[in-house]
């Protein structure tokens, strides 16, 4: 700054702010990759889908398949279990959903209540619940005592929501594709 010019502080302020902004942007630009690398890698995301043949599951039997690192339950429910799941009053549920809402229509467009497909992970802390157990004869989580009914809905215990239904569709009458 030459002597014959009045001192103009605003120029300095501008340079200070501009430098600070550029430095902050630089830190953010290098910081984001450091944070984002922790997320799901492309191969994990691509670990995609599995097909399950329902015809091999007998009535009263449950199939457990690994999907995206988590078990998927496919249960061929008995008539009694279906009746129990359908008879529940919505008002009694912590996370209200009808049994039909938790099923996906088959190729005919009709919902077949026999096969219940869900992610076999307790919504409390992620343990795998045990089948045909608990106060509602659905599933019981041994970790912290959550009870699920025959539709996989939370009825008692610390879990906040029903067991999740994975995205799935019918490839043909007896085969589903999960994911």
């Amino acid at each position: 700054m030459s002597d014959n010019q009045p001192e103009d502080g605003s120029k300095r302020d501008f340079i200070f702010l501009a430098t600070g902004a550029a430095a902050a942007a630089g830190v953010a630009a290098i910081g984001w990759p450091l944070v984002a690398q922790m997320g799901k890698a492309a191969d994990t995301l691509a670990a995609g889908s599995i097909e399950i043949d329902l015809s091999k599951i007998a009535e009263g039997q449950q199939l457990k398949m690994l999907w995206r690192g988590k078990p998927v339950f496919v249960r061929h429910r008995t008539a009694e279990e279906i009746a129990k799941a359908e008879a529940v009053e919505l008002a009694d549920l912590k996370d209200p959903a009808t049994d039909a809402e938790r099923l996906v229509p088959g190729t005919s467009g009709e919902v077949d209540p026999k096969f219940l497909v869900m992610v076999g992970v307790c919504t409390h802390f992620g343990c795998v619940p045990v089948g045909e157990a608990g106060d509602y004869e659905g599933w019981y989580c041994p970790c912290h005592g959550s009870h699920y009914d025959t539709s996989g809905r939370i009825r008692k215990g610390p879990a906040p929501t029903n067991m999740a239904i994975p995205p799935y569709s019918f490839v043909n009458e007896t085969t589903i594709k999960v994911g």
Partner: protein, 428 residues
């Protein structure tokens, strides 16, 4: 490190030369001659014991890392290989696993000591808070390390603990998957846990440096909680407390060696000898013993989010303790009411640990036929006391409790009132 005037005088030309350029020998010498209260009892030896524990864990851990494979296909087998095939691997692996338990045993003694003698009160608040931070990082390190053998308890413990983050409203699931690097605990999780498990002990070492710095700046507390006033109130750290610490370390090592050589698996869980299986949860997931009280607090309420907040609160409350206990007298020796509540507090911590190990719906205390108090209810009662102790009992006692008469000084507390000039000198 400040606190007392330096008495170091370099004797040789070379040591003078170094002292003028980097006074590192002076720092060590001043450390060894640090004036410590002359009435420290054996409860004050756990600091030294803990320093040893950290060194044992770092040395054995670095060696284990040379043989360990951080990959879901090889982790479990590599730990078994260390135990069976690597020369002295059985010793080093057990030393590291048992060492973790011994570390927590010592840190709990150290913390209870601080709680009883009021070591968190002014001017030691920052010293106490750094200690709480060390404890927090220790817990993280222990959790990460327990995942590495990739047994059933490793896997499901990791699933449950990372599930805590899933309870955060709105962003919970995204946050949890970001931590795991996938949809569930898997290879990405194992490798990052290994990297962090290797890193955090050095963070602890740095925090220990700050802890000791703060300690030497404000001076040590002591069993009567009265600040040293004269030179006769103190003794040089060496040889008086180096010897006392060394004896305590020897006794501690006996206990350590007993577990190491005779009961190496007693503090672990048998299910961790089964390789991790994402399809099957063990019938009864329990954390390591040193986390059981917090596990009981987590399960004390039938709500996921509130349970986690309560568990975090149990640790956060320690950080703010210096401002909750407003009583002017540090040591509970002179607090006739508080000391009883403190004893109940210790009993409650043990009860919480017992409840953490139990199945919530099982009967803990039978009262007649098929009836009684369940672990769930007992855990709730103990949780209530845990929080009441910090949030109600100590603040209220700070206002109303009358302390008993205290000695005038440390010297008088140790030697009584009789004039024994020679008695102030250590016995020959």
């Amino acid at each position: 490190m400040s606190g007392h005037p330096s008495t170091y005088e370099p004797k040789y030309a070379a040591s003078k030369w170094l002292d003028q350029r980097l006074p590192i020998v002076r720092m060590g010498a001043d450390f060894m001659t640090f004036p410590s209260p002359r009435n420290l009892n054996y409860w004050y030896t756990f600091g030294g014991i803990l320093a040893l524990c950290l060194v044992v864990q770092i040395i054995s851990g670095v060696i284990l890392a040379m043989h360990y494979v951080a990959d879901v296909d090889g982790a479990f087998a590599s730990v078994q290989r260390i135990r069976r095939d690597v020369p002295f691997g059985w010793l080093l692996q057990s030393m590291h696993a048992v060492g973790a338990s011994m570390f927590f045993l010592a840190v709990y003694m150290h913390m209870f000591r601080g709680l009883y003698y009021g070591s968190y009160k002014a001017p030691r608040e920052v010293l106490w808070i750094i200690g709480c931070l060390i404890y927090l990082v220790m817990m993280a390190t222990a959790f990460l390390g327990y995942t590495l053998p990739w047994g059933q308890m490793s896997f499901w413990g990791a699933t449950v603990i990372t599930g805590f983050f899933g309870a955060v409203p709105v962003v919970g699931e995204a946050l949890q998957q970001w931590l795991l690097g996938g949809y569930a605990v898997d290879n990405a999780t194992l490798t990052r846990f290994f990297a962090l498990h290797y890193l955090l002990p050095f963070v602890i070492a740095a925090l220990v440096g700050l802890h000791v710095w703060a300690l030497h700046h404000v001076g040590q507390n002591n069993p009567i909680g009265i600040t040293e006033k004269t030179k006769s109130d103190t003794l040089s750290f060496h040889p008086f407390y180096t010897v006392k610490d060394a004896f305590a370390i020897a006794v501690f090592l006996f206990i350590f060696a007993f577990f190491l050589f005779y009961l190496p698996d007693a503090l672990g869980h048998a299910d961790n000898y089964i390789e991790a299986d994402a399809m099957k949860t063990p019938a009864h997931i329990v954390p390591e013993w040193y986390f059981l009280p917090f596990y009981a607090i987590l399960r004390a309420v039938p709500s996921k989010l509130f349970g986690i907040l309560l568990m975090l609160g149990a640790i956060v409350v320690l950080f703010v303790l210096p401002w909750l206990d407003t009583h002017k007298v540090r040591s509970m020796r002179f607090r006739p009411v508080a000391r009883w509540f403190f004893l109940i507090f210790i009993v409650m911590c043990f009860i919480l640990g017992w409840c953490g190990a139990g199945v919530p719906d099982d009967i803990a205390i039978p009262l007649g036929k098929d009836a009684g108090i369940t672990f769930y209810r007992l855990g709730q009662a103990a949780t209530l006391y845990y929080f009441a102790y910090f949030l109600v009992i100590l603040p209220v006692l700070g206002l109303i409790e009358k302390p008993v008469k205290r000695p005038d000084s440390i010297t008088k507390a140790v030697l009584g009132d009789q004039k024994r000039g020679a008695g102030l000198l250590p016995a020959e």
